[in-house]
Amino acid sequence: MTHLERALRESAPRGDADAAALAARRVAARAAEEGGADIAYAIVPSPLGALGGVCSRRGLLCLSYRVERLDELLDVLAGALSPRIVESPARLDAVARQLEEYFAGRRQRFELPIDWSLARGFARRVLRATADVPYGNATTYTEIAGRAGSPLAVRAAGNALAANPVPIVVPCHRVLRVGGGLGGYAGGLERKRFLLELEGALEG
């Protein structure tokens, strides 16, 4: 290598990690605002821990308790829906605000469009039926299976609720066992109990 080539290498513009990161954030923000991105995500804080929120153009797609596995979720969405995915807290603003109001006891209904793409057939009907269960009320897996059109498919209804991509907003925590047992919850029973107590649906 000649003297000149060595000098070119040594004096090449250095990486400026901060400048590059800042520029990348502006790209993501513009992609979300100007419509280049099909899917936007952000970490949304809550008293139950950080949530991974994901929105499509149609509405809220996922609200995940498993923030540590958000990357895997985004991989799945890139393959299944669109790889045009950017991080955009602004696009999750309404979600974050309504969740904050809900946890502060100032909101009983979420007014958020939901993108049901991730649930099909019976599972989607189960989730839609669950979305109609009012604040502070509890229903049963059997009841929800019936409302979704298959009163005998109680186990399938339970599976659909366990796979609910938008917990809290689609209130699967309001679905209990016949007889009052808590049943299951993808976020863990502690969280289910917390939500039911918040809504005054559990005594004690």
Binding site: E5, A7, A12, A31, P83, E87
Partner: protein, 155 residues
């Protein structure tokens, strides 16, 4: 292999693209070129073939945006960007900022050849692909650039 979510692609490539653009167009213009590069990449992204070479692909777009930026600047009546031709004074990073000032005054193809070689570290084959020319032409560009630089640069 499927395409990664665009955000991951952006995060994985932001630093090399930033460096490449600063080398090509200077710090001031780099930001606009960076935005243009990745927004164009986002538009084309879902149409990319599986297994495409993302590194070379994004540099190809960046290279094109750098050329557009130079053309736009050449058309401007007053050269506003001269004040920042040299990279920011950041101590240890730049023992010889003037050398890269000289690089930015080379003809576009030579400038790109130098940046692809000494900033992006691409072999001639890849550099040729990014510049849309033959490997032989890429070598000639680099050779001509070094010859020109040697004339200007005395040390």
């Amino acid at each position: 292999m499927q395409l990664p979510p665009f955000q991951r692609f952006l995060d994985d490539h932001r630093e090399p693209v930033w460096r490449f653009l600063v080398a090509l167009v200077g710090r001031q213009e780099a930001d606009d070129c960076f935005q243009e590069t990745f927004l164009a990449a986002l538009r084309a992204y879902p149409r990319l073939r599986n297994g495409a070479n993302l590194d070379a692909w994004v540099l190809t777009i960046a290279h094109r945006k750098a050329i557009d930026s130079h053309r736009a600047r050449a058309r401007r009546p007053i050269a506003v960007a001269d004040a920042d031709e040299s990279p920011p004074a950041d101590g240890p990073g730049n023992p010889d900022p003037e050398l890269w000032g000289l690089v930015r005054r080379l003809p576009p193809k030579q400038r790109a050849a130098v940046a692809l070689r000494f900033v992006a570290d691409l072999p001639h084959v890849e550099a040729a692909r990014v510049m849309g020319c033959s490997e032989a032409a890429a070598r000639r560009n680099l050779h001509a650039a070094l010859t020109n630089l040697r004339k200007e640069w005395s040390r």
